[in-house]
Structure formats: structure tokens, C-alpha cells
């Protein structure tokens, strides 16, 4: 609903150590600076990578946020897939998944 502000708070967290600290120490006060729904606030807090992806957060922003949370690469990809399974297709933006049920392995081969 307010994808712009959802991405903006992530943008601010991703690039600014002081905002990262505020996110960790007092997320609610930080979130008050942005027009966010309760669903978005919860997804940011957990963090619920799958839901953030489905809500349409740009993959680059989400990838940096997942890295900040020390989420391993394979886990990050799986969390997005799980998000789609749970919440349905990506609702907005240009980072939608294009192929359902496929993985692109290191050899470039497609695995189901």
C-alpha cells in the first residue's frame, strides 16, 4: 500500500550506520518517520524477507537488507520463494519472479 515509504526506510537503513542502530534499538520510533502500515512494520521488524519481497520491495534494496541481517545467499533466495508460496505473486515493482518452481544452478542448468 505504501511501497514508496517501505522502500525508503529500507534505503535509509541500508546506507546509514546511525539508522541501522536506531532500527536495532528502537524500531518503532524510526518507523514513525515513515507512512507504514502495521503489516509493513511487522515485516520490517521480524524481518519477513518473503513478505517484503511480495510487497514489491526492489530486490537490490532487499538484498542489502538481508545482508545486513547476515542471511546466507541460498537462504535469501529461498525466503523469497517461500514468501510467494505463502502470500502469492509479487504485487508491485519490477523485481517479480519470472519462472515458478525453477532454480538456476551454478552450472546454468535449470532444475525443477
Amino acid at each position: 500500500m505504501s511501497l514508496y515509504y517501505l522502500q525508503k526506510v529500507l534505503y535509509d537503513i541500508n546506507r546509514d550506520l546511525a539508522v541501522q542502530k536506531q532500527y536495532q534499538d528502537d524500531a518503532d520510533t524510526l518507523f514513525d518517520n515513515y507512512a507504514l502500515t502495521d503489516e509493513e512494520r511487522n515485516a520490517l521488524k521480524q524481518p519477513d524477507i518473503g513478505l517484503l519481497y511480495v510487497l514489491g520491495v526492489n530486490g537490490q534494496i532487499l538484498m542489502h537488507f538481508a545482508a545486513f541481517h547476515k542471511i546466507e545467499w541460498a537462504d535469501y533466495l529461498q525466503l523469497m520463494r517461500d514468501g510467494i508460496t505463502e502470500h502469492g505473486p509479487v504485487r508491485e515493482g519490477v523485481y517479480a519472479m519470472t519462472v515458478v518452481g525453477e532454480r538456476f544452478t551454478d552450472n546454468g542448468n535449470v532444475e525443477s
Binding site: N58, A67, W73, R81, T98
Partner: protein, 272 residues
């Protein structure tokens, strides 16, 4: 003429972050090509390195998104990403504000570029610099083309930006190396990461190598999104670099898909 080097390379974060997951032979061959770029840039006598990058929300957001922006500072910092994740330590990178100002002033004669006196690098610049100036001893002039937040600048404008860069480089006495960085086809940071359209990549690289302006500018953003993914929008950086090469043809030193690095990895330079 003071543009002494023009080339392009890939910048995906996996190149460093997931190095241990790649086919070692392929990875080392790619790394060797990047090291050859480093050597070629050093041999060119370059006194500054201008990077035409496509950043990923390290500095610019949809509240005030410039189509083009050039850094004008004496120091930059990066990467913004968790250093343990990217496997590149956070560091300060030297700039040259005086040189930036002269370059920007000339570019503005034909392109309304934005400029910034502060700039944080993300993997889009930090990954190439990790290989091209590993000691961070060459002043960098960062330039960005918005390839992330649509609406995006048309490819023809990216060409004009590259032409303006060439004119500006040739107008200053300093020797400047230019490196454009971006992916060809890729679906980065999505569950489709690793998907590569090799046929589309090969066609684009053929146009790029021949410096075939007409063909490179022939893609629509709909074509790019369908065939090259949202990462494909970054061909703007290759197009600007080709324009700066002023008709010169390119030599491709490396062009192979490395899915764990999320794209066909490339190193190429123009015969200036």
C-alpha cells in the same frame, strides 16, 4: 586526447561475496581478466578513473532521482553493504573534486547531469574497484546512470551522456581512464538469480564490440525487461562507454556466464 582507456566490466556482488561457490577455473579466468584490466589501466598512465556505474540505492532514491549524477568530492566511502557479506572491507576512496568540477562543467554543455559532493559506493563500484585499484591509490570520479527506479533515461540519452564524457575527458589535461560497469541479462536479487539469456547477451555484445550505435540503441525497455531482466537495464552503462569510445571497436577479454555471479561476466576494452 586525454581519455587514455575505456572499458567495461561486470559488478555483481556475487563476484566477491560468493567467490567460493563458483567454478574455480572459471572464476580464476575471470579474475585474471579483471587483473589484466587493472594492468592496462596502470599502463595507460591514467591519473584518474571515471566509473560509469548503475548503483543500487546507495545514494539515490525515488524522492529525488537523477537520471545522471557525477561525484565531486575529494573522498568517497564504501561499500555500504555488510563488509563480511560482500567480502570487501569498508574503506575511503580518493577523489579529485577539482577535476570532477571541470569534467562536470564540460558535460553540462550538452547533458543536464546532477552532481554530488558526497557519495557512498555499493557493490556497483566497490566490486570493480576491488580488482581495478586494489590499493585505492587512483582518484575515482563516480558517475551514475539511474537503471533502478523507472522511468529510466532513454538509451539514446545514455549515448549522449557518453559522448559528453568523452568531450569532457579530452578537454582536461589529466589522463583519464573510463570504466562502465553493469550486467547484461540478469534477474538479480530475485529467486531467478542465476538465470542468464546467453543468446541475448551474445547479440548485445556483438553490437557493443562493433560499436554499432544503431543496434545498441534499438532496444526498448520492454524488450530489455522481457529478454534481459530488470538487470538488463544496466546496458546503459555499456552504451555510454561505447559512445565515449567515439566509434572505436572493442576487444572482449572475457565473456562467459557464471550463474552464481548472476550474469554473463564481461571484461572488454576499446581500441582507442
Amino acid at each position: 586526447m586525454s581519455l587514455v582507456y575505456a572499458g567495461v566490466c561486470s559488478h555483481g556482488p556475487g563476484i566477491t561475496a560468493r567467490a567460493d561457490q563458483a567454478d574455480p577455473e572459471l572464476r580464476d579466468e575471470f579474475y585474471a581478466s579483471l587483473d589484466k584490466m587493472r594492468q592496462d589501466i596502470e599502463d595507460s598512465g591514467a591519473e584518474a578513473l571515471m566509473m560509469v556505474a548503475a548503483e543500487h540505492f546507495a545514494n539515490f532514491f525515488m524522492n529525488n532521482m537523477p537520471a545522471y549524477c557525477i561525484g565531486m568530492a575529494d573522498q568517497y566511502e564504501g561499500p555500504i553493504e555488510d563488509p563480511e557479506w560482500l567480502k570487501i572491507a569498508r574503506t575511503n576512496v580518493p577523489g579529485n573534486s577539482d577535476l570532477s568540477k571541470r569534467v562536470i562543467t564540460e558535460i553540462m554543455q550538452t547533458v543536464d547531469t546532477a552532481f554530488s559532493e558526497e557519495w557512498k559506493f555499493d557493490h556497483g563500484i566497490s566490486v570493480p574497484l576491488n580488482f581495478l585499484t586494489p590499493r585505492y591509490d587512483l582518484p575515482v570520479i563516480p558517475a551514475n546512470i539511474n537503471c533502478q527506479g523507472p522511468p529510466l533515461t532513454p538509451l539514446g540519452r545514455a549515448w549522449e551522456f557518453g559522448k559528453a564524457i568523452r568531450r569532457a575527458c579530452d578537454a582536461v589535461p589529466e589522463k583519464i581512464a573510463l570504466v562502465g560497469t553493469g550486467g547484461i541479462s540478469h534477474w538479480p536479487a530475485t529467486p531467478d538469480s542465476g538465470k542468464i539469456n546467453l543468446e541475448w547477451d551474445a547479440e548485445f555484445m556483438r553490437h557493443f564490440t562493433n560499436n554499432d550505435k544503431h543496434s545498441m540503441l534499438g532496444y526498448s525497455d520492454e524488450d530489455i525487461y522481457r529478454d534481459g531482466g530488470q538487470g538488463g537495464y544496466e546496458i546503459r552503462t555499456f552504451i555510454a562507454t561505447a559512445a565515449a569510445a567515439n566509434g572505436a571497436k572493442a576487444d572482449v577479454h572475457f565473456f562467459k556466464p557464471i550463474p552464481i555471479f548472476a550474469t554473463s561476466c564481461v571484461c572488454a576494452s576499446f581500441q582507442l
